[in-house]
């Protein structure tokens, strides 16, 4: 009887929730818009409109417009627990979101475009076996959106646009199986989940209304895309050689799904004079689609894992200003407030995201009539927060992972705009 208890204890000890990516929106989809607080649903800068508002493409003056660029994301997360003195700092590799936008004006009323961008992604690397390693050691999540589109001017004031999106997702995620399981040498038992080239479809629809020379209004809706990984590889390592362990070393297949939420942006811009332009966007993100993260391992005997995320819908408020200094230089600055979709008790360290304030700036240098160099930066500051993830379980009871987090991210970027 004693030994039966031992067996059930061990099984419970090793069967723990597998967690991986929280949806992580990376708002770095264009140098000029980012410099203005990542606003731009009612602004027509250049081919960046392919992301911010496809309806704006038809208003571009040139026939061919191209914008290409990228960012380096340097992010840091600090963790500590003042009850135990546990502490950690991420050593995340530099993230590199990129974008390519192109539009071609077929007539004064019609333009077509192509956008390639990376709106979702997360790269977080904690020290291996840190205090929260049973939730995450490291994660790399990315999604590339490829979107052809049309932009059509119904009349001088109103235009519409949109197109289908092909999303290609990939994830690589590692965590320890529990707080304590090891092999005989003390190496922590862990699992790596890897899936790439997962495809799914979505769309975006947009409209722009140029009320007069000064005021413009825009709306853009990007539909939710569910990335459903099938037959991904889950690799278990450092599991002790015992029939008491519910899993064994080696690679098995898994299925999992993660939503890339819908986003609705409405905004306005005000061209005060030749020099000054102001923009405001309100962004609503449908994060409540992210209820659970379920990982289904192919072998029947492997316990599946259900991980509540319970995100809520979230808003952000974006403000930007642009000053056209002269023919050569344009300067921009912006600010945004980004509300976190994470609710109390669901703060998982793989997405250490609470409310944040973003400070942005940038510059455009017109090399010639055709070519411009755009540069911008984002400094994203998170408030220090005491938070916990409560739904990790041991022996059938919740074991909250608590602590204080402080994060920041700095993302400088550079790009080119070309028009012909």
């Amino acid at each position: 009887m004693i030994m039966k208890k031992v067996m059930s204890l061990l099984v419970v000890m090793l069967v723990t929730a597998v967690t991986y990516a929280g949806g992580y929106r990376v708002s770095l989809q264009g140098q000029r818009s980012l410099a203005m607080g990542h606003s731009g649903v009612a602004v027509v800068h250049n081919a960046e409109s392919a992301f911010f508002n496809p309806a704006g493409l038809v208003h571009l003056e040139n026939k061919l417009n191209i914008a290409v660029g990228g960012f380096g994301v340097f992010s840091d997360v600090l963790y500590q627990n003042s009850e135990t003195g546990a502490r950690a700092q991420t050593n995340s590799p530099t993230g590199t979101p990129v974008y390519l936008y192109a539009s071609y004006g077929i007539s004064e009323k019609l333009a077509v475009g192509l956008a390639v961008y990376t709106p979702y992604g997360s790269t977080v690397e904690y020290p291996t076996d840190w205090a929260g390693s049973h939730l995450v050691n490291n994660i790399e999540l990315s999604a590339i959106y490829i979107q052809p589109m049309v932009s059509y001017a119904i009349n001088e004031k109103l235009s519409v646009g949109g197109g289908p999106i092909l999303a290609i997702g990939s994830v690589n995620f590692n965590r320890n199986l529990s707080r304590t399981a090891t092999d005989l040498e003390g190496n922590r038992s862990n699992v790596t989940i890897d899936a790439s080239g997962v495809t799914a479809f979505g769309y975006s629809l947009a409209a722009m209304y140029k009320a007069n020379e000064k005021w413009s209004f825009g709306v853009n809706y990007r539909a939710k895309i569910d990335i459903e990984a099938e037959e991904g590889d889950a690799t278990f390592a450092n599991v002790a050689n015992t029939p008491l362990a519910p899993v064994q070393n080696g690679t098995v297949k898994f299925d999992a799904a993660i939503p890339l939420p819908a986003e609705l942006t409405i905004g306005t811009s005000y061209q005060m004079n030749e020099k000054w332009l102001f923009a405001f966007d309100y962004v609503w993100a449908g994060w409540d689609a992210y209820e659970n993260l379920n990982v289904d391992f192919a072998p029947e005997s492997y316990p599946d894992s259900v991980n509540p995320r319970n995100y809520k819908n979230a808003s952000s408020y974006r403000f930007g200003a642009q000053y056209t200094a002269n023919e050569k230089f344009t300067l921009r600055a912006g600010y945004y407030f980004d509300e976190s979709p994470v609710q109390d008790g669901f703060f998982a360290p793989e997405t250490p995201r609470n409310d944040s304030n973003g400070f942005t700036g940038g510059i455009t240098f017109n090399v010639s009539d055709k070519l411009s160099i755009d540069a911008s930066f984002l400094y994203l500051k998170f408030k220090e927060i005491d938070a916990s993830y409560d739904d990790y379980q041991e022996n059938g009871q919740n074991v909250p992972f608590e602590g204080t987090y402080k994060s920041s991210a700095f993302a400088p970027g550079i790009g080119l705009s070309y028009k012909l």
């Binding site: 004693i2 030994m3 304590t180 029939p243 920041s408």
Partner: protein, 507 residues
């Protein structure tokens, strides 16, 4: 405005250096060492201090020793590096001149019948006793050491290991052949020390089912055997000598008392009633013992050889259901010689069986090792079953008389420890009370309840005596509590849920 905007790129550059910082970082003066100084912490003790578990010393066990756990917390309050004489592998066995002299660690293995049970991990160990490590080491925990060993020169002399004159674990890192364990601590001039010693002064006697000798009254420890109880005056003398030496270095420190043997699963796992019998078998056994119960014991009572009390205690009686086994109790009158003679004239083998025979009762404690003997056939004696028709050897039962000897010595040792802590202004840890709490219902933590239940309780390793990493973490917390109280420090405790329990493996 124009000018302001021009500075944006410069502002951007300055933000690059803007890494996040906590308002109150735990690494930066958040905790206080109070009046204590943890810069050079030295721990002195026995197997418990070394991180011994599962009947062996191995690397991951050492990494989870309570002194190492404490030292990691001390790092937040000015603690320095903490070194340990690590074993060479995670198998745990010791080699002396290439020959294995101690067994590998226990792991929980699933047998062919599908049932998990403790089993010795296979593999050839690589830790050679004579391959001496160069110290000094902060953790001076020597498995097997009794109190008086720590002040004995030569206890770490490798040449004495084979003859039992020296300790193989200490021989691995002794600074010289005639060094003393306490000397290793003093020469490091520690700023802080912990001393937890004395467990083996009673535990050897207890785990051997009281087969050793209670040496109370014998003041010469050089005459003691490994399973004997150390005289309380000898203990008090060497203990105070060690405390004087340590306090003499100017170090602050903490003293830890000795837990009850009844707190460890080695004595609480095997039930006293363990022999299932049907009515017929019970009746047949009773018929066999009828002559012993009435004629032999009755005759001896009448003759005044045994008391009424002993007469009653020695009655054998089996019933349908789960029964107490029979055993040898060396505190009973040895009647072998008498009953071999007239009027009984019993043959020598029978007289030998009955010599100090009685049935186990509910006040006895069965050792963990008895589980592999109870109800098994007796080697070399046809049709005899251990505990049923053949008495269990004395080493498998700690009788109430033997328990009393252990408790008396323990109480005296503990009084010495507490008094010396008080007299020297040192922190005092009531490990006895802490482990009583674990044994009585358990102690809740964020992932369940830590209890003394064998294998499943989480506190004790598969040898039933030494803690698991989680048990050691619990111990470390108890010591940190006492240190914080004595020295006004705020050293943070660890979350014991982050520490492992037993290890399962079929290797």
């Amino acid at each position: 405005m124009k000018k302001f905007l021009k500075y944006i790129p410069i502002a951007a550059l300055s933000l690059v250096a803007c890494e996040p910082e906590f308002d109150n970082a735990v690494e930066d003066g958040f905790y206080s060492s109070g009046e204590a100084n943890f810069s050079n912490y030295v721990s002195i003790g026995n197997s418990l201090t070394a991180g011994f578990a599962d009947s062996a010393l191995y690397i991951t066990g050492q990494e989870n020793s309570y002194p190492n756990i404490m030292a990691q917390q001390f790092e937040l309050v000015g603690g320095g590096e903490f070194t340990q004489p690590l074993m060479n592998d995670n198998l745990g066995g010791l080699l002396l001149g290439g020959t294995q002299i101690t067994q590998n660690r226990f792991v929980l293995a699933v047998g062919a019948d599908g049932n998990p049970s403790p089993s010795v991990l296979s593999g050839t160990p690589t830790t050679e006793v004579t391959a001496t490590l160069s110290g000094p080491f902060n953790n001076i925990g020597v498995p097997g050491a009794k109190s008086y060993h720590l002040v004995a020169p030569g206890y770490g002399n490798a040449a004495g290991v084979a003859t039992g004159q020296a300790n193989p674990y200490y021989a691995r890192f002794a600074s010289s052949a005639d060094a003393t364990v306490i000397g290793e601590a003093v020469t490091q001039d520690p700023s802080f020390f912990s001393l937890w010693i004395g467990n083996n002064d009673i535990l050897g006697y207890a785990t051997s089912g009281g087969s050793g000798v209670d040496q109370t009254g014998n003041f010469d420890p050089s005459t003691y055997g490994s399973s004997d109880i150390t005289d309380p005056n000898v203990f008090a003398s060497v203990y105070s000598q060690m405390v004087d030496l340590m306090v003499g270095t100017g170090a602050d420190g903490v003293l830890v008392n000795l837990p009850d043997v009844t707190s460890v699963p080695f004595f609480t796992t095997v039930p006293t009633q363990s022999i299932p019998l049907d009515a017929d078998t019970a009746a047949a056994l009773n018929a066999n013992f009828a002559a012993y119960n009435t004629q032999v014991l009755g005759g001896l009572l009448q003759a005044g050889v045994i008391t009424q009390e002993e007469f009653a205690a020695r009655q054998i009686n089996f019933t349908e259901g789960v029964n107490f086994p029979i055993m040898v109790d060396d505190d009973l009158t040895n009647i072998a010689a008498i009953i071999s003679g007239p009027p009984f004239n019993l043959p020598a083998p029978t007289a030998g069986l009955l010599a100090q025979l009685r049935q186990v009762n509910s006040t006895d404690l069965m050792t963990l090792t008895s589980s592999s003997v109870l109800g098994t056939p007796v080697a070399g004696v046809p049709n005899a079953v251990n505990g049923v028709s053949f008495p269990l050897a004395d080493q498998f039962v700690l009788t109430v008389t033997e328990q009393a000897r252990v408790s008396a010595a323990q109480a005296s040792y503990n009084a010495t420890i507490q008094a010396l802590a008080q007299a020297n202004g040192l922190a005092f840890v009531d490990a006895r009370a802490a482990l009583q709490a674990v044994a009585a219902g358990g102690v809740a933590f964020d992932g369940g309840v830590l209890s003394s239940t064998f294998a499943t309780g989480g506190a004790f390793s598969l040898d039933g005596v030494h803690p698991t990493p989680r048990g050691y973490a619990f111990t470390a917390n108890a010591i940190i509590d006492a240190i914080n109280e004595q020295y006004g420090a705020t050293v943070p405790k660890v979350n014991i849920g982050n520490y492992a329990t037993i290890t399962a493996s079929n290797d």
